[in-house]
Symmetry: C2
Subunit: 261 residues, 2 copies
DNA sequence: AGACTAAGTTTCACATAATGGAACCACAGG
DNA sequence: CCTGTGGTTCCATTATGTGAAACTTAGTCT
């Protein structure tokens, strides 16, 4: 999947290459990339050189492999702290985690996928980057559905087109139709469930974070297991979660005027 | 500043723009960027469009501002988990933190700057992205000097050229000469100190993480305050830190063969 | 209102920068 | 010594990006 069919210009291609490297998740050789890439040898080679020269990739001389560069980590730090809800939402997540004692996720929608930007774990201490930055499917997670439910028609269709509808479990909503029906229900009640749709035994209740104009800018969820609780019990928390979501929405609304300069 | 004088090609410029946005650390309007950018209006505009279209930037319709995009966060997660020492070093850092009870930093060198990739805080729980991804000066931090001390001549000169030598405190080594002398001493003894060179009252002892060939791929440090301890006490820990660094080096050495495929 | 100004967007002739087929190099096996 | 595979460089061709200037809005001042 050379993915981004609409790769505009040279930078589009370069970023596409970055994604390719990222997708492997381990050091890759030139030839690893060449197969499956639509770019001709020389072009791919030059793109890699440029990216490496720019610090977006790192080249291991000895092994002849490329990995993602540290410049990305630096940029992402800035991205995370200025563009994500995480820094704002932190105190509210802490609170919610303390009160519920369950796992909390904060997610945003990125190109039709769920991007987790923060997390509180019931038991273990927080796990740095290893959780923030993770992506997941939108059509079969609580946070994902909560956000999809508030997209306008155009954006929704675009997002749906990007879903794989892979059937992770027997409960997974595996067609656009089922999903759309579910989204209406979610809009109605104001929060979403994950009924073991992504992983067996894992359930959650998720609430969208809405702007005044009704756009979903993120979602918060409380996750648990069927062993420990059930949907009804989680639903009882919905009000509490909504409350947190509303408060996050409120600070997010103000925050866009960091300085009026 | 327009920094990257050697901005090769279009992607170089695009990435340069990304950095510019990142540098402000808050939503920026078009005109904010235009001043201080050497690119002509139309060019800058097109670059911004492309980056936005690619999800590297996000554009806020209402305010007319750009911020870094979430795609970066996604990429960085991959970068952090495949290219940084953090995932490998984690258990050793935990151990070191537990034993010393002080603040632990894990850093790598990126374009002449110190990039913190992980951290253990004495008291508070870990702070996600907010610490990882941060950058700091190399010439006046323990981890920075520890790594500089093991650069070869060419790389060292290049790195020194990138230092600001801003005098943060009376103790800051504010010339290349003083720094070079210090680096020799560090190489001799195998670890570096920060003698309140960056922040008054903050001291640390840092050890480079060395490959078999003697290249520094990162550094670990134990940080404390003059109120709580002193350099002599920190130096007593040096052996312990060296031990951690050596063990991290060992796993890092193997790790580059994730699968021989 | 009407006349200015500043911020953002589009155009278009032009030149630079990316393209990719093919040739080249280096090295490992047979 | 030949042959194949992985990686790097050339270079004529052309697509792409360039940027001065013109154009739209959306405010602001008088």
């Amino acid at each position: 999947m050379a993915s981004d069919t609409g790769a505009d210009g040279t930078v589009g291609k370069a970023l596409d290459v970055l994604d390719m490297v990222a997708a492997r998740g381990r050091p890759v050789r030139f030839s690893d990339l060449q197969v499956g890439s639509s770019y001709p040898k020389a072009t791919l080679y030059r793109l890699l050189q440029t990216l490496t020269h720019q610090g977006m990739l790192a080249y291991d001389e000895d092994r002849g492999t490329y990995t993602l560069g540290l410049r990305l980590v630096r940029l992402a730090h800035a991205a995370w702290s200025t563009s994500s809800l995480a820094p704002l939402a932190r105190p509210y997540l802490d609170e919610l985690a303390a009160e519920t004692g369950e796992t909390i996720h904060l997610a945003q929608l990125d190109q039709g996928q769920v991007l987790y930007v923060d997390k509180r774990n019931a038991t273990k201490p927080v796990e740095m980057f290893s959780s923030a930055g993770k992506v997941g499917p939108a059509y079969c997670t609580g946070v994902g559905k909560a956000m999809l439910a508030y997209l306008d028609d155009g954006a929704l269709e675009a997002a749906i087109a990007r879903q794989s509808f892979h059937q992770f479990t027997p409960e997974t909503l595996d067609t656009p139709e089922k999903l759309k029906a579910e989204l209406i229900a979610i809009r109605d009640r104001g929060y979403a469930f994950d009924r073991e749709e992504h992983e067996p035994g894992i359930i959650c209740c998720a609430v969208p974070i809405l702007t005044r104009t009704g756009r979903a800018i993120g979602a918060v969820s409380v996750t648990s297991t069927t062993a420990r609780t059930d949907l009804a019990a989680l639903e009882a928390q919905a009000g509490r979660i909504k409350d947190s979501a509303a408060r996050i929405a409120a600070v997010a609304e103000d925050w866009r005027f960091p300085e009026q300069g």
